[in-house]
């Protein structure tokens, strides 16, 4: 058995959630973890280097269709790698992120395999996995069981590790693979757009002061902002506050 972790990176930089995923993957106890780096031509080695010593094996897949991020190309590559492997991974782990919400369900469709998204806790149970999720806007927790596979997909909510990712230092073997991605996928990455210069990434903050519908008035946000400042915290909000333009999307 083995676990594959899909590394998440943007604009040439590895995202923190990748280390969390490696930690989750190792904790499953379902065999060795392989990190998969999908990238445009020539970008894979630098990205793989940032995972050195954190997984026993890193597999680099480079293709012009993987430049930037292309969930369709990434899912096609994963499906090919899985079908080619003599022992397919028991679990494919990814982040429940903008990227994960694109490639993971697409891969689930291609493999017709069990999948679960936005997981906050994951454990091996019997021949498959049990996952804890937060449902109904965070008001209830649900526990779900995945079917047996051969392979199953799970995406994990960033920041849901109880502790900092702890990975025993190890020697990483770096390999490359060709995934024969179809030339015409009907979907092309065009560009990254930095919508807000100097934007904050709230998923990386230690303390959040968060406002929701209960804030009632735009002026009241100043109160929350002052509290955040006093605490050395980051101001964040729920979706409705963004949708009425009281706070920017990054929050």
């Amino acid at each position: 058995m083995s676990v594959w972790v899909v590394a998440e990176h943007r604009n040439g930089a590895m995202r923190e959630v990748t280390y969390e995923l490696l930690s989750h993957g190792a904790a499953l106890g379902l065999g060795p973890v392989t990190a998969l780096v999908f990238s445009g031509p020539g970008d894979g080695s630098a990205l793989a280097a940032s995972l050195d010593g954190k997984a026993p094996r890193t597999l680099i897949v480079e293709d012009s269709s993987l430049l930037g991020f292309n969930g369709t190309a990434q899912a096609a590559a994963l499906a090919t790698l899985i079908s080619q492997s003599t022992e397919p991974p028991k679990v494919i782990l990814g982040a429940h992120s903008a990227a994960g919400m694109d490639w993971a369900p697409t891969l689930a469709g291609k493999l017709a395999c069990p999948a679960v998204t936005d997981v906050v806790a994951l454990a091996a149970e019997g021949a498959s996995l049990a996952a804890t999720r937060v449902v109904y806007g965070g008001k209830l927790n649900s526990k779900v069981k995945l079917g047996e596979g051969p392979s199953v997909i799970a995406t994990i909510r960033p920041g849901s590790l109880e502790e900092e990712p702890s990975l025993t230092p190890m020697t990483t073997t770096i390999e490359t693979a060709n995934a024969d991605i179809p030339a015409e996928l009907g979907k092309r990455f065009v560009a990254w757009v930095e919508e807000l210069a100097g934007a904050v990434d709230i998923s990386q903050a230690d303390i959040l002061v968060s406002v929701g519908r209960g804030i009632q008035d735009k002026e009241n946000i100043d109160v929350a902002e002052a509290l955040a400042e006093a605490l050395g915290a980051t101001l964040s909000c729920s979706r409705p506050v963004v949708d009425i333009n009281w706070l920017p999307k990054e929050r």
Binding site: A98, P105, V116, T117, S142, V144, A230
Partner: protein, 263 residues
């Protein structure tokens, strides 16, 4: 331009205190109001905007029981030309895989240029249905779109990413796009508008007419099954501070200092 939009009728839990029913698997729902899933309202609006600017026909689909028809009436009221409701008792509480099989079956042999779905639903929040349906149809999909423009057989979209980033992607039609909230301003639908829409027909389909056998349904359900739901453990020592704002602030400060001081 043939456009399809899928909508879901979900409980509105924003203001509700939820309780787990005795079976440990469902929410005590008797009192809960239901409404169109928030993401789907934006998807519907976007579908109507595309239809208004490029012309064509908009078909709205819903998997749900008779009570869920209200969301389809809303589709008809804002400009959908057709409404299709799929239901079978076997779909009650079904997971996204079973629902997607029903969605695929509802489309049948019809070919749509553009299919829109909400990026996720406010109840389960899996976000699986859209891309799964795209794979079942063999068309490309793009998720979490907060800006889109249909032009020359393609759709140019911006996806919303974390940390203030976006990503521009070009997708060839036919394609499926899942919509993020905030992409537009869903129009107001008057009671009168919904009443008028009551006169328009809604096509009904069952498991047989969408071509799903009991066996298929069982296979899809096996992929992801609910064990149970529970109220999250209440955080230890949750305490409501009372008094005037100044008093609350002083108490808050004292507690934070005592707890190890972030100040």
């Amino acid at each position: 331009m043939k456009i399809a939009v899928f909508v879901k009728h979900v409980p509105d839990v924003a203001e509700a205190d939820l309780e787990v029913a005795a079976d440990g698997r469902t929410v005590k729902g008797g009192e809960l109001p239901f409404e169109m899933n928030e993401w789907d309202r934006f998807a519907l609006e976007e579908a109507v905007l595309v239809k208004d600017s490029l012309g064509g026909e908009l078909t709205s689909f819903l998997i749900g029981d008779e009570a869920a028809e209200e969301s389809l009436r809303r589709c008809l009221a804002v400009g959908a030309d057709r409404a299709v409701r799929v239901w079978d008792d076997g779909l009650a509480g079904a997971n996204p895989f079973a629902l997607t099989a029903a969605m695929r079956g509802a489309i049948g042999e019809d070919e749509y240029d553009l299919i829109l779905c909400g990026a996720q639903s406010s109840d389960d929040g899996y976000g699986l249905g859209g891309p799964l349906l795209a794979e079942a149809l063999g068309v490309p999909s793009v998720a979490l779109v907060n800006k889109m423009k249909v032009e020359g057989g393609k759709v140019l979209v911006t996806r919303e990413l974390e940390g203030g980033w976006g990503e521009e992607v070009e997708v060839d039609l036919p394609a499926l796009v899942t919509i993020q909230t905030g992409i537009n301003e869903p129009r107001y639908v008057s009671i009168l508008g919904i009443k008028k829409a009551r006169k328009k027909p809604i096509d009904l389909m069952d498991a047989v007419s969408v071509g799903i056998t009991a066996e298929r349904l069982a296979t899809e359900k096996e992929k992801l099954s609910l064990v149970g739901i529970e109220t999250p453990a209440v955080g230890e020592g949750a305490e409501i501070l009372e008094g005037s704002p100044e008093e609350v602030a002083a108490k808050c400060l004292a507690l934070l200092k005592e707890a190890g001081g972030v100040l």
